[in-house]
């Protein structure tokens, strides 16, 4: 039973990540590969605030989300200026730099050894320690995140974003030019990824840079492209499929390194096949031109 709660927790965390990445890919039209850098930032910042500064969970969580949102703004600025493939490559380089910095800044991040003893989710004296309570909490957060994104993406503001995404020249021809909404949406997406990082860090009680590497980034992008970008249930479906793959491999007797390798193959294949044959994803979402 604990195993099921564990998988449910992972599904919830990856749903938050996929839904927030979909804001960037599907609604802003930015094919970024650095979302797991924001995931990492949220995890490490929250863990550091709790371990070093002994801040309570709610305060650490809030600071981690806000800090990640602010740190993401220069990334948003750069992404706005660049063409499609430059965004892909630049964001991939940013992810590699981030993971390397997490490995190398031993004094701050523990280096390859990571950070241990991260406190679980707690609100005052109430601690969520069991698999079940943490999974239920994560599912609740995931549901709220999904709802918030749906509200945002079916609104006048969403039309504004989609116009900027599809044709910025035509958009300015209709007086759609404000950049505030673009930055706000980017910061919201990165903040949500940070929230997922906070939940993960408190659940696992131990984080190291390998959790947030390029394979994670590829898996997240695969979730969004697989399910269908800019579709309400697309990222959720993508997260469900991607989470299931390693569990299926484990169920048929694969060891941990085998699971990792199969993940690489499947994620890579998904990206490749969908790029060629079905860029709109299973549910037929936003298609990259």
């Amino acid at each position: 039973m604990n195993y099921l709660w564990h998988v449910s927790f992972l599904f919830a965390v990856f749903t938050i990540l996929a839904v927030s990445l979909d804001l960037l890919i599907g609604h802003l039209g930015l094919l970024v590969l650095c979302h797991s850098a924001f995931f990492a930032l949220g995890a490490y910042l929250s863990a550091s605030f709790m371990l070093s500064a002994h801040l309570p969970f709610p305060v650490s969580c809030l600071f981690a989300i806000l800090a990640t949102g602010v740190i993401s703004l220069p990334v948003a600025f750069a992404a706005r200026r660049l063409r499609g493939d430059a965004v892909v490559l630049g964001s991939f380089a940013l992810l590699l730099v981030t993971v390397d910095l997490l490995k190398n800044l031993r004094n701050l991040t523990g280096g390859l050894d990571g950070l241990r003893g991260i406190p679980p989710v707690h609100f005052g004296p109430v601690q969520l320690v069991s698999y079940q309570s943490q999974a239920v909490f994560a599912i609740l957060i995931a549901a709220i995140s999904w709802l918030l994104v749906q509200r945002l993406t079916f609104s006048a503001q969403a039309r504004f974003l989609h116009a900027l995404r599809d044709d910025p020249y035509a958009a300015v021809g209709l007086r759609v030019y404000s950049t505030t909404i673009y930055f706000r949406t980017f910061a919201l997406a990165s903040g949500m990824a940070a929230l997922a990082g906070v939940l993960y860090a408190s659940y696992a009680s131990y984080i190291n840079p390998s959790v947030f590497g390029s394979d994670q980034a590829i898996a997240l992008t695969a979730m969004v492209l697989l399910g269908g970008a800019a579709r309400p249930w697309g990222p959720v479906l993508g997260a469900l499929i991607v989470i299931s793959i390693p569990e299926i491999v484990r169920a048929i007797g694969g060891g941990p390194s085998y699971v990792g390798a199969v993940n690489y193959v499947v994620m890579g294949l998904v990206l490749f096949l969908f790029a060629i044959y079905r860029p709109k994803g299973i549910l037929g979402g936003y298609e990259f031109k």
Binding site: S155, A156, Q157, R159, H162, D167, G173, V176, E287
Partner: protein, 241 residues
């Protein structure tokens, strides 16, 4: 002199020139556009119409001369600056928001929140929902009026060249602004649709006498019946007819 010309012009060019390499597209062009005017810029291929429209809307910076909008010097400003001061425009190659539906394209044109509030979008209070309902009704009515009701859910990217052109005019006719610039609004349209498009533009301008409309076209068929001022442009030189 008409009463509109007693006010300061909405747009003004003073000795504007622009060259691309050795080709001079605009040669010391000077004219002004006032509120309430419907102005046609007429000229053949390569006469400099599109270059002039691009200069007027900030998409191109002139080599010499001064562009004014609302009395303010506008030479070095980007298109968003012009948009902020009420300029709307269409393009020579019809541009569409490919993955938005026709209805959403019109709703966007009809309601552009100048500072979209994330909070309002999340909470969606009653006045926000009422406004959204009103905008959708208005957009659907506009589609029905031009017999496009069945195209409401069609992605704009699936429209043909002429349909995209017509959609861009329809969008413009719902948009708020003070100066509308249209580059070849009837290119690719049959004569019924062309006249419908020009009626939409005329309707947009007459809805508010503070508005002006400038159309660049090589199609002389409709010019005299829809526009009250005509400028001819040839080899970058503009003369009033």
């Amino acid at each position: 002199m008409s009463s509109s010309k007693l006010l300061s012009p909405l747009l003004s060019l003073k000795s504007v020139s622009k060259s691309y390499g050795s080709v001079r597209c605009l040669d010391a062009v000077s004219f002004s556009v006032y509120a309430g005017e419907r102005l046609a810029l007429v000229g053949g291929n390569g006469s400099g119409k599109t270059s002039l429209v691009d200069v007027l809307s900030g998409f191109t910076v002139p080599d010499r001369g001064i562009v004014y909008m609302n009395g303010l010097r506008a030479n070095r400003h980007h298109p968003a600056w012009f948009a902020a001061r009420g300029m709307i425009r269409t393009f020579q190659s019809p541009r569409a928001f490919e993955q938005m539906t026709v209805l959403d394209c019109l709703c966007l044109a009809a309601w552009v929140p100048t500072s979209p509030s994330t909070f309002s979008s999340l909470i969606q209070p009653p006045n926000y929902r009422k406004k959204e309902e009103c905008v959708r009704k208005h957009a659907l009515a506009a589609l029905t009026a031009v017999d496009w009701g069945e195209r409401a859910a069609v992605p704009a990217g699936e429209l043909s060249y002429g349909q995209r052109r017509f959609l861009s005019i329809l969008q413009l006719s719902l948009a708020e602004g003070t100066v509308a610039l249209c580059d070849e609004p009837t290119a690719g349209l049959d004569s019924n649709k062309a006249s419908e498009a020009l009626n939409l533009l005329k309707g947009w301008q007459t809805a508010d006498q503070a508005r002006a409309i400038i159309v660049a076209t090589h199609d002389l068929e409709f010019v005299s019946s829809y526009f009250d001022r005509i400028l001819r442009i040839e080899d970058g030189i503009v003369n009033e007819i």
